[in-house]
């Protein structure tokens, strides 16, 4: 058999460096426009944490665009300049090169470094989002087939229809569902959580731009899924208070549940209610005697309880607020009074009962 002629090739190919320069320039231009874009994904950032998310999007867009250019433009370029010449014989072959360890090292090392950078940067943004301030106002969003209800502190009845939030107020939104899994997405805030029955997920947001923004279901939930959306109304504190008053609530976006009347609490009624609503998770023993949550027998004089309420000894009002708003933290999750179907009157009874336990 005739030995095939191996094509000699001393350079990288005709026009390799101009093409490389073109890739660099076009990637730099694309990166410039991506990095300086005020709305990189095309939506106004209407509150925390949207700016942080957008910053990550810009960075990824610039890097991803460059990688896309490298792969696409070189592939097309190689395809054109290394196409088999028309006059080439049937035995024409390419450069018989098997590998180039230096090249392979760099195209392993550079992506690895990029990924380390990206992972660190994503983690930083993720920490920012996890640490977004909330809790000045706490709202519960509860979904059903096919709609949303919102529970505000101090409102006896949940609000159906639109969700209202005051401007510049760090807000915690606890989301859950009554039936199947739904989604809770506010595109302009870049936040989303699944609303899972039996589970409370937490979102934190601080609206910074007044306006009306869609709240959209993003988990398939049945025939009504496509139409399952409502609006978030972000308004000034005054407008919010006005709206809140119309819903029948005293305006208090402070600690939530500020004024539960406790004077009329009945120990007997509380005892009965504790058996129905609380004893599945709480014993009446000391703090350490856990069922699901801690034992509540010494709640007013056990130092272990103090950390639930800002490091000071709990007051009856603190405990009332905790029952009202629920708890989610390092010792577990407790549903709110609304989810437990406990009225303010019930709370007063429960607090009276718990106080009677602690006195023993």
């Amino acid at each position: 058999m005739a030995q095939r002629v191996v094509k000699p090739r001393t350079n990288l190919g005709p026009g390799f460096w101009p093409v490389t320069a073109f890739i660099v320039v076009i990637s730099a231009i694309m990166a410039y426009f991506t990095l300086t874009s005020p709305w990189p994904i095309g939506l106004v950032p209407a509150g925390e944490p949207a700016p942080a998310t957008d910053a990550l999007f810009r960075f990824l867009g610039a890097v991803g665009g460059a990688i896309f250019n490298i792969v696409t433009i070189y592939t097309i370029y190689f395809g054109i300049v290394f196409a088999k010449p028309k006059n080439a014989g049937p035995n024409d072959i390419g450069v018989q090169i098997h590998d180039a360890p230096v090249l392979e090292f760099w195209w392993t090392a550079i992506p690895t470094i990029l990924i380390v950078v990206l992972a660190i940067y994503s983690t930083k943004i993720w920490l920012d989002i996890q640490n977004t301030q909330g809790d000045v106002l706490t709202v519960e969003a509860i979904s059903y087939q096919y709609g949303y209800q919102f529970r505000y502190p101090n409102l006896a009845q949940p609000v159906s229809g639109e969700m209202h939030l005051p401007l510049n107020t760090p807000t915690t939104i606890h989301v859950t569902s009554r039936d199947v899994i739904h989604g809770f997405w506010i595109p302009e805030m870049r936040i989303k959580a699944d609303m899972v029955p039996g589970l409370i997920n937490t979102l934190r947001v601080t609206p910074t731009v007044a306006g009306r923004y869609p709240i959209i279901c993003t988990e398939f939930c049945g025939v009504g899924h496509g139409a399952m959306k409502t609006m978030l109304v972000v308004q000034s504190q005054q407008d919010f208070s006005k709206w809140f008053a119309q819903q029948g609530g005293a305006q208090s976006t402070g600690s939530g549940g500020g004024g539960i009347p406790l004077a009329s609490g009945s120990v007997a009624a509380g005892t009965a209610l504790f058996g129905q609503k609380c004893s599945a998770c709480h014993s009446t023993g000391p703090f350490t005697q856990k069922i699901v949550g801690p034992g509540l027998g010494q709640i007013f004089n056990d130092p272990a309880h103090a950390k639930l309420v800002n490091g000071t000894d709990p007051t009856t009002q603190d405990v009332a607020n905790l029952i009202k708003n629920g708890y989610q933290g390092d010792i577990g999750t407790m549903p709110s009074a609304a989810m437990n179907a406990i009225s303010n009157k019930d709370i007063a009874n429960l607090v009276a009962y718990l106080a009677s336990l602690s006195k023993k």
Binding site: M1, R4, V6, K7, G13, I41, G42, L43, L56, L60, G64, F68, V71, T72, T75, F78, F82, A83, K84, A88, I93, G94, V95, Q96, I97, H98, D99, E104, W107, T108, P111, I115, L118, A119, S122, T123, I125, W126, I129, V180, I181, G183, W185, R190, I191, K192, A193, V196, P197, G198, L199, N201, C217, E219, F220, C221, G222, V223, H225, G226
Partner: protein, 568 residues
């Protein structure tokens, strides 16, 4: 030993190779219940191709519905069934059976120089589960098809129509089939390679099948458990998933994605193999960085097991757990990048023959890279909070599964069509097919990226009017995409009638399957060849000895440094 080349060491297994079973003569044993891996490969491809057409028509129904913001043709209930069946069928009844059962069965034993797979009867059983599962799945339309997407998250899937239970049964069955094929291929590749074909002399397509077989074999069991539990809950009310009765809906998501993320690699690793065959053949170059491509296949298969929860960043798992899943997901880009760069380097300095399979393979490079990059946008947890459950995900997964798996499958079909049928197709029609597919594919799925980012959730029968323009654009592109399929079908139908006879090796390729006649004889290799080197050295004589002379194959003479090493 008479059939082996002199000087080749063999194991006890080869003592029986002198004996070739006669080909069955009855129609049923020859074409219906055949145990010949090639016939089973054809059967997979025909069945999978039919299901591809049905699932493709469902896709066109989806796009037609979305011509109007209020739904153009069907009710939301019907729409939900259509898209759920489209996804389920495309993944389980089309891509997975085609890449493993179809191409794996036909090509892999030929490439390793074997006469069949290790367990031909198991292969027969695995194949026949496939059409049965497909029929059960599509028959569910009669009772109300599953409507909660291909993921069928409970509790909403517990409320689904009766067909949802049939869906469980169908996917369970195809899962068994996939597991059996996985076991079969692992044993075949590990034990039945021709003498001298060490692991690092295997064609890269075989590496792809090896990785996929491992994934199918291990991951599918998790899906089987999840499906069984869903079936029991739907049928007998055993409360696995419904929180009203103490179940956990998140449990399903973990079990489902523990399978379904590796399933992404089940669908793509064999396609990586196809690309790794097509590019060197038509560049007339050794594949660049053979070992790196092979090892990155294994790396992807292993890493693929530890990223499943990146589908669940918004589901409500412990927050800090999101970080390791994000980081491992990003790390998968390293072996994938190694492959992409190695393929580009394979093009460099080649003598590139622009045939249709080559066009599809390079088109794959571009569209798959795009899908991989959007994968990064989804892996970064803060961005996933925005993108999860939107059309951005739909765009991403179609870039990976259509721009990746299906483009690669087309490359494979055009590439091995002469080997499978003995005839050539029409190259001009092939070009038309490629360019229409490539342009219409991007026209269909590219707009979905910004539709999702701007606020269009997935799985909706209705959408906001401001999204109509790009939805209409995508729909019209999808009609062109469907039209390009007609060219493909016409091309191959005509190939049977008027196609030029291909001969054993029309491409000048160097892997073993091209060393025998097209289509291959019943027994594949009358003599089991011995292998001296990797198959991609176009500058060297063919690295095989002991082959019957076919198609001007130049035989190598064994030298001291290329002495064959037995593989067992």
């Amino acid at each position: 030993m008479a059939t082996l080349a002199p000087g080749v060491k063999t194991g006890p297994y080869h003592a029986v190779l002198d004996h070739i079973h006669p080909e069955p003569t009855s129609f049923i044993r020859k074409y219906i219940f055949s145990i010949d891996h090639k016939v089973i490969g054809y059967q997979y491809m025909i069945t999978g191709g039919l299901f591809f057409l049905i699932a493709g028509l469902l896709a066109e129904l989806i796009r037609t519905q979305l011509l109007s913001p209020n739904g153009a043709i069907v009710t939301a209930a019907t729409y939900n069934q259509i898209y759920s069946m489209h996804g389920s069928a495309m993944i389980w009844m089309v891509i997975i059976p085609l890449v493993t059962g179809g191409f794996g069965n036909f090509v892999m034993p030929l490439q390793i120089g074997a006469r069949d797979v290790a367990f031909p009867w198991l292969n027969l059983a695995a194949f026949w589960m496939f059409p049965v599962a497909g029929i059960i799945l599509f028959a569910s339309f009669l009772w109300g098809a599953p409507d909660a997407g291909w993921t069928e998250y409970p509790p909403v899937s517990l409320q689904g129509p009766p067909g949802t239970s049939m869906w469980c049964a169908a996917i369970f069955l195809i899962g068994i089939s996939s597991t059996l094929t996985g076991i079969n291929f692992i044993v075949t590749i590990y034990k039945m390679r021709a003498p001298g074909m060490t692991l690092t002399r295997m064609p890269l397509f075989v590496w792809g099948q090896f990785g996929t077989a491992g994934l199918s074999f291990i991951a599918t069991t998790a899906l089987a458990g999840a499906l069984l539990a869903l079936f029991l809950e739907r049928t007998f009310g055993v409360p696995f998933y419904d929180p009203k009765h103490g179940g956990s809906p998140i449990l399903w998501q973990h079990m489902f994605w523990f399978y379904s993320h590796p399933a992404v690699y089940i669908m793509i690793l064999p396609v990586f193999g196809i690309i790794s065959e097509v590019l060197p053949t038509f560049s007339r170059k050794p594949v660049f960085g053979y070992k790196m491509i092979a090892f990155s296949t294994v790396a992807i298969a292993l890493l693929g097991f530890s990223v499943w929860a990146h589908h669940m960043f918004t589901s409500g798992m412990v927050p800090w757990l999101q970080l390791p899943f994000m980081i491992i997901t990003m790390v998968i880009a390293v072996p994938t990048g190694i492959k992409i760069f190695s393929w580009m380097a394979t093009l460099w300095g080649g003598s590139i023959h622009w045939t249709t399979p080559m066009l599809f393979a390079t088109g794959f490079l571009i569209t798959f890279t795009c899908g991989g990059l959007t994968g990064f946008f989804l892996a970064a947890v803060p961005l996933d909070y925005h993108e999860h459950g939107t059309y951005f995900v739909v765009a991403h997964l179609h870039y990976v599964l259509y721009g990746g798996s299906v483009m690669g499958l087309f490359a494979g079909i055009y590439y091995w069509w002469p080997k499978m049928t003995g005839r050539m197709y029409n190259e001009v029609l092939g070009y038309w097919h490629f360019w229409l597919t490539f342009i219409a594919f991007n026209g269909t799925f590219m707009p979905m990226h910004w539709l999702g980012l701007l606020g269009m959730p997935r799985r909706v029968a209705l959408y906001d009017p401001q999204f109509q323009f790009w939805n209409v654009f995508a729909t019209i592109s999808s009609y062109v995409l469907a039209g390009s399929m007609l060219i493909f079908i016409y091309n191959f139908a005509m190939s049977f009638r008027t196609g030029k006879v291909a001969g054993p090796n029309p491409w000048g390729a160097r892997t073993l399957e091209w060393m025998i006649s097209s289509p291959p004889p019943y027994y594949n290799y009358k003599k089991i060849p011995a292998v001296l080197a990797t198959p991609y050295d176009f500058g060297n004589p063919l690295p095989y000895i002991g082959l019957e002379a076919a198609a001007g194959a130049e035989e190598a003479t064994p030298t001291a440094e290329s002495h064959p090493v037995p593989t067992y």
